[in-house]
Structures are given as C-alpha cells and as structure tokens.
C-alpha cells in the first residue's frame, strides 16, 4: 500500500492566521495510509520545497498531499518539486485550504479548521487512488497565422517573421494598414500616421517570411495548439497580381463612381480601386457589387427583356499589361499553422442611432474618423478642412465626446479610451490648419492616463485655445447654416448653446463586424460586446483561453496605437514561445474510453466542445468512441454525458471523486 505524506502550509498568516495548523496536522496523522505529516511556513519557498523533497526521499513517500493555496497558483510548482524527488508528478494532490477556506472563513476559526481537516481528508482519499500519468510529445507546425492586418497584426507578423518563423497574414480588406492608415496625425507626438505606418506595411510586403493574403478571410479553424488547420477564402480581385504594374489607369478611367469607404463617404472611388495611394499590395480590386460589366453579365444571365446595360470593360481595354482577369474566381486555401494571433481590430459606433444628434441627416455633423480624412493630406480634400454641406471653412467647431461610449441607453457602458485624446489632437490640428478656428470640447471626464497625454491636453487648452466644457450634449439642430448645439456647462451649472459651423462626434470603438463569428470558429471567448476575452485580464492579457491562440489590439478592448503595438509584440512573443519548442507536451489528464463498456452511442461526441472524440472500429466489428488525446482539454463533459460509465477522466476518475465524497462522511 501506498505511503502518503501530508504537508500543511502556513502561507505566513494567510492560512495559519485562521486555520489551526497543529489540529490539521494531528488529524492528518490519523488518516488512512498517511505515514508522515509536516508543516511549512511557506511551502512554495525554496526552503519549503527542499523540505518536501527530503521528506519524500527519507520517508520513502509514494504519494503527496500539499494543503496550501489554490492549484491554480502552485500545482505546477509542486509537481516539479515531487518529480525532483523521483515521484511521478501526478501522484500529488493539492488541498486548497487558502482560497477555499482560510480567506473566506476568517471570521470563524474553529469552523475553518474543521473544513481544512475535511479538505485534507478528501485529498488523502483521492491521492491514494492516483495513478502515475505520463505526458506525450507531439510535433508541431512552425508557422504562424495572423488574422487582421492593422497595426497590431502587422507588428505581430513582423516580430515573428524577424525571429525566423514563417507567417501568414490574412486581411479582409484589399490592403493592410487598418484604421491607423485612415488617421492624419497621432497623439501625443503628432507624428504623421501614414509616415510611421507605411514603412511597416512595405516591410510586411517585402518580408521573405511573410505570406500576405489581402481581400481574404479566415473561414474555419480546426485542430489544436501546434497543429491548426485553417481554411482561408481568397476573394477574387479580377486583377492578375503577377501582371499588374499598379499604373493606376484602370481606376482613373473607370466611369462608375461610388462613395469611398476609406474616406467614410467624403469622396468618391471607382468600381476598380485601391483604397489609398500607399495601399499594400498596390493591386486594384474590382468591386463586384458596382462594376458595370459584372452588372451586364448578371443582366444577361437573368435573361431579362429590355435594354441591356453597357458592357463597359474600359479597364480591360486600357490596361497596358492586360492584367484584368474576368475568369479569376474565389479560392479556398488550406494552411497548417502552429499558433494564431487574432488582431481583428475595431469599427466606430454608428452615430445615426442618436436621433437627438440628427441621426445622420445633418451633413456638417461628422465623426472623428471623417475629420481625420478631412485633415489628411491624402484625404478627399487634400487636407483642407471644409464643411461637407457647402465647402466653406468652419470657424466654430464643437466636439462631442462619448458618442456610443459610457452610454447604457446605447448598450455601451464602457469608455472607448482614445476619444479624449483624439479630440485634443484634432483641436490642435484644426488650429494649425486655420488659426481662426475656435474649438469647443464637451467632455464628461478627461481621460488622459498615458505617457505625455495630460501634457497634450494642456497643449490643446493653452496653445490651441480649445475651450473644454464639462457636460454631455443633448441636442443638435440645424438653424440655417449654423448647427445649434445644446449642452450644459456643468461646472457653472448653466445651459450652454453654441452656434457651430461643424460638429465632430467622437464616436466610440466597437469590435469589427464578424468578430463574434470568427471567435466562434476559433473556439475562443468573447464578451457581451464582442471583444475577445483574455485568459487572465492582468497576468495573461494577450492569450485567449484556448491554447495557441493569442490576442492583440482593439479586438480585446479599446486601445491606442502604442498599446496595440505593444500587444502585437507581446502576442508574437507568446506565439514564438510555442513555435520555438522542439515539440509540444500533451497534458495527460484527458478522457479515456473503456472499450468494453462503450456502446457507441456517441453522446460524448455531441457533448465535446473540442471535437476530440473520434470513432474506431474494434476487432470484433463494434464502432466505439475514442479520445483524440491531443485535442482533449480534460473538461469532463463527455464523462457526464456518457450513460454507460465508459468515459473517465485521468486524474479525476469517477473512483477518485467518489473516494473524496466518501471520505467526507467517514
């Protein structure tokens, strides 16, 4: 029979302050198979671990119970400790007498001590039935996938590629660059956004380790850490990238003009287009929804009567290298990767939901991103800030903060993090563009917590002479050429009305469209708004709860550029820590099928969230379930789903759990 050692940890006064350690030790002495009991001031300290190792050797212990903090904290530590003393690391059981006991029962020491004894008793009963478990080595694909080609994804891709690993970067839009490419300048340094972004975009395009797939979307993901299999839909551009010279004749001559998404509708683009001059790759795409020739083809295909629309095909006729390829079709690519970085970014809140701000019907009520495009030298007005309604230069500009942020009526309780700063930046830039501009910034709180941010707000107030008014706007309406903005100066406690030429709504940040669906196919968690959930909000901020899938940027939460870049790099390091391993070690605490009891009903398969149950045919022709140990996460759902008691979880077998329960009343 097994010789069990029990080690009771004081954790300073964390446990010993509430639980009577001597009583717990005395009780442990009497428990079945326990041959040795000791206590430790701090079991996790080097001294504590050494004491445990020495006791294992000296007392010839075969099983160990450590009554201490949560296994979340130190199970890994203690497994190594017992392994160093020659024990199988899975012959260890932790009794959590801190989080489950001393911390929550500090007001009743006697009861806490009694509970601690029972927890130890259960652990002893369980560990007596432990079996040695052994990990397995699995191979892995040393290649990464980055989803999203904004600044976060670009940073992650470059860092991994520079470390020598191949990377596939998938971007839904025809170009990488993301939202940052739309910005004019960045706070608090006022660097030109595209000047600092485009070198990185070009580096991505030229990097030998990066495969760039734009106009492409991740459709499905299967597999597990080290061995993911990804389906990517490459949408047809109808332009042969190998022939195109990016001369630009096609989009200059295309007769179809539609509002440009990149400029938020402030200017036109053609049906064949590149979103902006520095786009990477600089290969135009044909927008199938608007191309005249595509419409002609659809008309013919429908076989309708009447006048046929024009065939157009001007781009095809004028293209010098004959790169237009009408035959090009969507393709599905299948790639194997070992790690995934999700950097799907954000979109801005739809301000037309605010009826009191005109619901989008006043042309001179614009959004912050629209103002970025007006300020930008590469924007639709080449950097001239004009009113969309009449092209005049606005002199009185009102900024409205928290549009779609901190607003529970709109289902957005959270702060969007960047608006206070970008409003200050835009006020400074407006003053630089036109010294006669007077900006009024309505705010609730000025959130300027970053490095150099508060100083930047002062700059907006002192140099750019922006007037900050504390209060939310209630109403905007058109009065002739002016927009009447009604707010409160809550510092004076009086209503305020400003007759503005231009109103800028600081629309908040929300996850990109489709983020939830992607998270579902990746099997990672997202919150009520669709932001991806971190494995731990403080200690594992760029990891998802699914191993091998990492997160970066505004897909997690609203963030500014330095934050996104830092997260991109952090996610890259985490992914590299997977890719750089020679092989992966599997967790042996997985489900196992008893082939004699399995009836092949596959209730387990339906219960499994990780596609870890396969079928196999036994020699006598019976089809039964079998666990794919690499996919199994050890969650135990299949165990509870199995009606025939054929499923078991190694390390948490039904016998072990029953022994724990039995120990309670014995």
């Amino acid at each position: 029979m097994a010789r069990i050692g029990v080690f009771v940890c004081h954790c300073g006064s964390n446990i010993a302050g509430t639980v009577n350690i001597a009583q717990v030790m005395a009780a442990a002495q009497t428990m079945p198979l326990v041959t040795f009991v000791a206590d430790n001031k701090y079991s996790c300290s080097e001294i504590g671990q050494t004491a445990i190792r020495e006791a294992i050797l000296k007392q010839k212990l075969e099983r160990v119970v450590i009554a201490a903090c949560s296994p979340q904290m130190h199970e890994a530590t203690f497994r190594k400790t017992v392994a160093q003393a020659g024990l199988n690391p899975y012959l260890l059981e932790i009794a959590n007498i801190r989080e489950h006991c001393s911390w929550v029962h500090s007001n009743d020491k006697a009861a806490a001590t009694k509970k601690a004894i029972e927890l130890v008793k259960m652990a002893v009963a369980k560990v007596a039935r432990h079996e040695a478990l052994f990990t397995k080595e699995i191979g892995l694909t040393k290649k990464a996938l980055v989803i999203g080609g904004g600044i976060s994804g670009i940073q992650a891709a470059l860092d991994m590629a520079n470390a020598g690993y191949p990377v596939i970067l998938v971007e839904r839009e025809p170009t990488i660059g993301g939202r940052m490419a739309q910005l004019d300048k960045t706070f608090p340094t006022l660097d030109c956004s595209s000047c600092i972004l485009t070198p990185k975009m070009v580096e991505v395009a030229q990097h030998p380790n990066i495969t760039l797939l734009t106009y492409a979307e991740v459709k499905s993901v299967r597999g597990f850490v080290g061995n993911f299999e990804v389906e990517i839909l490459q949408r047809a551009r109808k332009v042969d990238a190998s022939k195109c010279t990016s001369c630009g004749i096609c989009w200059q001559k295309c007769p179809e003009k539609i509002p440009a998404e990149f400029n938020l509708g402030l200017g036109p683009r053609a049906a064949i287009y590149t979103p902006f001059p520095q786009a990477v790759p600089n290969i135009p795409s044909i927008d199938l929804a608007h191309c005249r020739y595509i419409k002609y083809q659809e008309f013919v295909a429908r076989g309708e009567e009447g006048k046929k629309p024009p065939q157009c095909r001007i781009c095809e006729r004028l293209c010098p290298p004959q790169a237009i390829d009408w035959e090009q079709s969507d393709q599905v690519l299948v790639e194997k990767v070992g790690a995934i970085v999700v950097a799907t970014g954000y979109q801005t809140f739809d301000h037309t939901r605010y009826g009191e701000f005109g619901a989008g019907r006043y042309p001179d009520v614009i959004t912050g991103i629209q103002l970025e495009r007006l300020l930008s030298a590469s924007g639709p007005t080449e950097g001239e800030v004009v009113r969309p309604s009449d092209g005049t230069h606005p002199k009185t500009v009102v900024f409205v903060s928290c549009v779609g942020s901190r607003d529970e009526r709109m289902g957005r309780a959270y702060c969007s993090n960047v608006c206070c700063m970008y409003m200050a930046k835009q006020a400074i830039l407006l003053k630089e563009h036109d010294p006669e501009v007077q900006s009024y910034i309505f705010y609730i709180d000025i959130r300027a917590g970053g490095k150099g941010y508060e100083e930047f707000i002062r700059r907006a107030q002192e140099e750019a002479r922006a007037i900050y008014l504390r209060g939310r706007i209630s109403h905007i309406y058109q009065d002739g050429k002016k927009l009447i903005v009604r707010g409160e100066d809550s510092l004076l406690g009086r209503p305020v009305e400003i007759a503005a030429d231009l109103v800028v709504l600081a629309t908040g940040i929300e996850p990109s469209a489709g983020a939830k669906e992607l998270a579902q196919s990746l099997n990672i968690s997202y919150d009520a708004h669709g932001f991806m959930v971190e494995a731990h909000p403080k200690l594992r901020p760029v990891e998802s709860r699914t191993e091998g899938i990492f997160l970066a940027g505004t897909a997690i939460a609203p963030n500014d550029i330095p934050g996104c870049v830092a997260q991109g790099s952090a996610a890259a390091v985490k992914a590299l820590a997977v890719l750089s391993r020679p092989s992966l070690v599997s967790d042996p605490m997985v489900a196992i099928v008893d082939p004699l009891r399995c009836t092949g009903c596959f209730a387990c398969q339906r219960a499994c969230a990780f596609n870890a149950i396969d079928s196999q045919v036994t020699r006598d022709g019976k089809t039964i379930a079998v666990v794919n140990e690499s996919l199994c996460k050890g969650c135990g759902l299949c165990v509870s789903a199995c009606r025939g008691v054929a499923m078991n979880l190694k390390g948490f077998s039904q016998q072990q759990l029953l022994a724990e329960v039995n120990a309670l009343w014995r």
């Binding site: 009826g355 005109g358 019907r361 109403h475 309406y477 058109q478 009065d479 002739g480 009447i484």
Partner: protein
C-alpha cells in the same frame, strides 16, 4: 380608418380654447368616414396637474374614462396630445398588478389595460389617400409634434422621439411641403402659461422663430396646448423681442379640412389670435 368607429374623447380644451380643433376634427372625420361617438359624460384626464401632485390620481382620473370607453367596446381616439398621453400612460401603468389593484380600489371596479388609445393624428394618418379638392400647393409647413405625442416611445409606441414623420407625411399628402427642422418635439411650456408666462414666451419664441427662419409659412400642431402657447402669445412675444412674427399656427385637422374643400370659416380659422387668413389668401387657399 375609414368606416371605423371610435369612442371620441375631446378633452376639456376642445370645449373651450381649442373649439376649432374639435370642430375641424369632426368635419374631417365625417368626410373621411371615421365615425366618432363621444364618450358620454367623460371627465378630465387630470392633465399634468393631477399626476404631478399625486401619481395615483394621475392614473385614476384617466382610468375612469378608460372604463367608460371599455363599456362602449370601442377604441378611444382623442385629438388632444395631453389627453392621449394620459390615457395611454394610464393603460400602460394598469398592466402592473399592484397599480391595477390600487386603481380598482379607487374606482370601485377593475379596469383592464386592454382599451386601445390612438391619438387622432394616428387615426387620420393610417390612409393618406385623401379625396383632396384643394391641394395646399406652395404652402411650407413646419410640423410641430410637441412632447406628449411621442415621448416616451417605450410607452406611447407612436413615432420617433426625435424626428417623427407622421404629420409630415400627412401634410405632404395634402400637397403642402413639410420642412425638416430640429424642434419638432421641443417643449413649448405645456400647461404653464398662466403660472409662468415668461417661461412659455421664451420657449414659444425659440420654436416660432426657428420655423420662420427655416422658411415655414406656418406651423401645424396636434395639441391644444401647443397651438395656444404658440398662437395666443405671439403679440406679447413680439413686444418682448421687438420682432414681428405673425406666424399662423394651425391644427393639422384645419389644414386637412382646407385640402378637403372646407372654407376657413367652417374650420373656425377666424378663431386664431394670429390671423392665418392673409397667408391663405396669398397662397390662393383662402
């Protein structure tokens, strides 16, 4: 709408300051075959005075009228925005069991929340194919809804709180032009002209002057308080601001009546203090 019968609740103002609303409403309803059966011996809904001093009284007074209408087995319609607000709110509050219990204790018998209440504007907007005899071509109208027709949408379920369109569509169907403006649902001072005329003058001035600056020839209303606040006080407001306004304030039923071929006198247009007849003559409608 056409052919349907409603329990008609005119409300107190329509027997006094807003008689022209009652007269014009009855005329157009008759023409459009909307049958109105006045609720017998209806009583006041309590307006804001009852509700603002006692929440329970604010429900019990309209509930009494809901009870009268329930006996007629007809949906209620009322031209008055305040009355329709109070009646609809009471019906909404009666969905709450505790409130319903209290109210039935007060009224001596239970009142169900199932009586439907539709403001007359809603009833007359259901079908916009009017038999128009005199289109209001060339007339620019600022449709003014005030507060109580639309707010709160969660209870009233009628039209958009910030930019309602029902009256605009009706006015457009008459051949007139409804201007887009931002004070459609701004408050005009409600029932306070007696207690705080200064307040009402200021609010009315904001509304009238914006409509006028944006090119409206007149304002159309669907509420006796809105109409009288904007109409009756214009002379005093003009004196206070040293500015000529003279903007006619119509009930929407009067504009509808004009288009249906009734004369200004039949529609009691001579009852307004801000004389609309010069405008109608100038537009060839008088």
């Amino acid at each position: 709408m056409a052919g349907r019968t409603y329990a008609y609740y005119p409300g107190c103002a329509l027997h006094g300051t807003a008689r022209e609303y009652d007269v014009s409403a009855r005329l157009v309803c008759q023409t459009l075959n909307v049958k109105l059966q006045e609720i017998k011996d209806w009583s006041c809904c309590g307006a804001s005075s009852a509700a603002s001093l006692s929440p329970l009284l604010g429900i019990a007074l309209p509930a009494h009228n809901l009870k009268l209408a329930a006996a007629m087995e007809l949906p209620i319609t009322t031209p008055c925005a305040m009355c329709s607000y109070r009646l609809k709110t009471a019906a909404h509050e009666l969905k709450d069991e505790a409130t319903a219990r209290q109210v039935s204790e007060v009224l001596g018998s239970a009142v169900g929340p199932e009586v439907t209440v539709e403001p007359l504007l809603q009833v007359l907007s259901e079908d916009l194919s009017f038999p128009i005899r005199k289109p209001l071509t060339g007339l620019k109208v600022a449709c003014y809804y005030g507060c109580l027709l639309v707010r709160p949408k969660s209870v009233l379920q009628f039209d958009d709180e910030e930019n309602p369109q029902t009256m605009d569509r009706l006015i457009t169907a008459l051949g007139a032009e409804a201007i887009d403006w931002g004070l459609k649902t701004e408050c005009c001072g409600a029932g306070l002209p007696l207690a705080r005329p200064d307040l009402v003058h200021r609010l009315a001035y904001r509304i009238i002057s914006l409509a006028q600056r944006l090119g409206a020839d007149c304002i159309a209303t669907a509420c006796p308080m809105c109409q009288s606040n904007l109409d009756i006080h214009q002379k005093e407001i003009e004196a206070e601001h040293g500015e000529k306004l003279g903007l006619p304030i119509f009930y929407f039923t009067q504009l509808l009546g004009l288009a249906l071929g009734f004369t200004p006198r039949e529609l009691y247009l001579h009852k307004h203090l801000t004389n609309p007849l010069p405008l109608l003559r100038a537009k060839g409608l008088g």
